[in-house]
């Protein structure tokens, strides 16, 4: 029986060893924690680019989609007949220079969705700090373009972060004009209204005829509570912090405006 026991042990250990070996010989990729960046006023472009490259290839998780040519546009290599992102970012959107375009693409990803791709890009401000985002912007600019991220951008962002934010009762913008608020809050990046906007979420056209004010208010404050039929695949994209970003008067202005769209 000892011989049989040894054979069983051999098969067991051999199988475990094989799996361990196979898992050790394939490429080893670790998911790093995004390193918190702290720059002084004398930060150089090269330092920003180096930090950005590390985030792009590592903890930022950017390479999971960008670079494969299927889920998201290639950024480091050409996209179609265009060059890397640094050569094309300045001309992507009229009125947006390269730096502004890249930054907005990361913190408001629904704003610019390239034709042929799904709006799957997450809001990077939920996982990266402001400095980290600027570092990635600098790295992307360096891919065939000019790096113009400066210490002033970082300082401005830091000042914004340190100012009283959501929950303090101070709204982001002062206006109570609902159409202005829809623009300011980027609602039309995902909802169509007349000739404006995209249809990632339910259109605002005629929404007052389909939903009452209470439902609209609830959907703004807690978008996950009820997902409109047909839009389940985009559940989770809508920001959940409008309750903090809008004052009560602003929220009611938007709700009244949308409820009136019949």
């Amino acid at each position: 029986m000892w011989a049989t026991n040894l054979k069983i042990l051999g098969v067991t250990l051999g199988t475990i060893a094989l799996y361990t070996l196979v898992a050790n010989v394939i490429p080893q990729i670790e998911s790093e924690v995004p390193e918190e960046l702290s720059f002084t006023g004398e930060v150089t472009a090269a330092e920003l680019v180096a930090a950005g490259e590390e985030l792009y290839a590592g903890a930022g998780g950017c390479t999971a989609c960008h670079g494969l040519g299927e889920r998201a546009p290639n950024l480091l290599t050409g996209e179609g007949d265009q060059g890397p992102i640094g050569t094309r970012c300045g001309s992507r959107v009229e009125g947006e220079d390269c730096k502004a375009y890249l930054h907005r693409s990361m913190v408001e990803p629904g704003a610019f969705v390239l034709a042929g791709y799904q709006p799957i890009m997450p809001d990077m401000s939920r996982t990266l700090s402001a400095n980290q985002i600027w570092a990635v912007v600098a790295y992307l600019e360096s891919q065939g373009g000019q790096v113009d991220v400066t210490a002033a951008d970082l300082e401005a962002e830091t000042a914004t972060e340190e100012a009283p934010a959501g929950g303090s009762g101070v709204a982001e913008v002062a206006t109570t004009d609902p159409q202005e608020l829809l623009n300011q809050m980027q609602c039309l990046a995902c909802h169509r209204l007349g000739s404006q906007g995209q249809e990632v979420g339910p259109p605002f056209d005629g929404i007052g005829g389909r939903r009452d004010a209470a439902y609209i208010r609830g959907s703004i404050l807690d978008p996950a509570a009820q997902v409109a039929p047909g839009y389940e695949q985009f559940a989770g994209i809508m920001p959940t912090n409008f309750g903090e970003r809008l004052s009560a008067a602003q929220l009611e202005a938007v709700v009244d405006f949308l409820a009136g769209q019949r």
Partner: protein, 600 residues
Amino acid sequence: MGHDGGRPAALRPVIESRRVRWATATALGAGLALLVAVLPAWAQEAAGGAAAGAREYGQFPGIGSRAAIWIAAEVHLMFAAFVLGVPMFAMVAEAIGIFGGDERYDRLAKEFTRLLLIAYSATAIWGAVLLFFLTTLYPRFWSHMASIFEVSMWIYVGLFFLESFTLYLYYYGWERMQEGGAKYAHWGLAILLNVWGTAVMFIADSWLSYMMSPPATVTTDTASGMVQLWSVINNATWMPINIHRVIANVVFGGAVVAAYAAYRFLAAKSDEERAHYDWMGYVGNLIAIGALIVLPFAGYYLGREIYEYNEQMGITMMGGFMSWLWIIQAFLIGVLFLAGNYYLWVGMQRIPGAERFLPYTKWMLLVLIIGVIVWATPHTMIADRAELEAMGGSHHPFLGVLGVMSAKNTAVNLMILTTFLSFLLYRRANKRPVVSWARAATLVQSALFVIAAAIVLFYGVYGYFVTAIVRIGFSVYQVLAVLFTIVGVTAIDVFMLRGAESRGAVRWGKMPERSQYALFVLVVTFTWLMGLMGFARSGIRQHWHVWEVMRDTSPWAATPALGYAATMISACVLIFLGLISFIFWLGGLVEKPQLVPKRG
């Protein structure tokens, strides 16, 4: 094993019965006592959440806190899967014994329930270890969990007691509740045992799935008092994980039963014993592979829900730093399919009449091997700039887009169909149908196979000519075609083989020894795969204890690469298999199973 010295035969049942009671009562008592001992510390931790803020993490000597919690959680989970899978196994086996009149199944169910008693206490002990480690090594995180889930934790403990005492009643009442209505009441206990066990698992699943997919209403600033319990329990991935685990537990229970039988087969001293354990190994393998066939569908459901909850999380899982994990998974599942089919094909040698099917096995082997190769072909792996430049693009210069999901889905569906065909041939090997419509029915069955394979292949090829979002939808048609065939062919087979003539009885025990090693490979692979998938599920949270709600700020926050994970998984598998072997040995000491004369 299982010998009782020179004691008079008449005394043996009494002595054995006392031994079983003492052994199980002591072991269960120890487990429960440990759990109860932990509760004050747990309650204190929950109540003193604010105070615990001063100390966020503990330090475990030597291997570090992450490794310690990893081992405790994984080994606990493996035992939990075993003690949840085996009662399902016992419930079905006892039902076959009652309604099919085959007493062997009743004995089989009892034999495993006896082992369950000891394994149950091991599960409780590892649960207590996990709880100790959570409260001492991750106090901030555990304080958060306890403050949100406290009510469900109390219910969990209550259900745990109910489950324990139902198990006592189920096992110790076996002989007394053998006749008439009492037997049905006894089977009712098996159902109740599964109800408690499943409820316990569902509660624990809510905790871990919350960590992965907390509802949008919970943010970093949400006070625990504002959280609605049901919203965090019924989170996006809770039910998919519940379903996946129920099926996986059945698979795991069947595989462990088969491995136990394989060991007993190899150690058997008589033909009678060998025949019994050969049959038991067959039943265990049948259940394991049978449930494995539907497991990928539950996996797809879980994956889809992860994508719907958070696209970024889904991409991290399938295409981000975890992309290579799925190649390892394909390799492991390939081993499962090959070993499971090999066992069946070798087993056909002991069935009179099976010779007519043996020439087909080489073609089935070919389909399986090609399937494994296609499934294990890498695609959209995470690559850095240098690697992209070396490949000359986003895909491999030779393989191109061969490894897209179209090809992988096609491969796995054809492998499932092939394995189902193996079962079918095994099942009807020694039977000759007597119904007049047997030939027509066989033709219909063949047509179902061909149509399913054609649908799978058609959508597999067509998938290359459409966009990714359309391609993903095709997998539903492929799965439905395969499921329809499995259900349809099985239904036809059941009616066609009613009253079938026998070509000869199965020669139980006349099985080459090499076949039994396939069962060991199966149990090791299932256990390892469980560890790997646990790493995938937990790892996609990356540096978050609770996704986008609570960051992991410990020194072990980074999610390790597969090599390190594999070493940890192997350590857990060794600990589990070592302990379960000890439990089986212990089970053999206290009572010798009653063998029932075999049937054909």
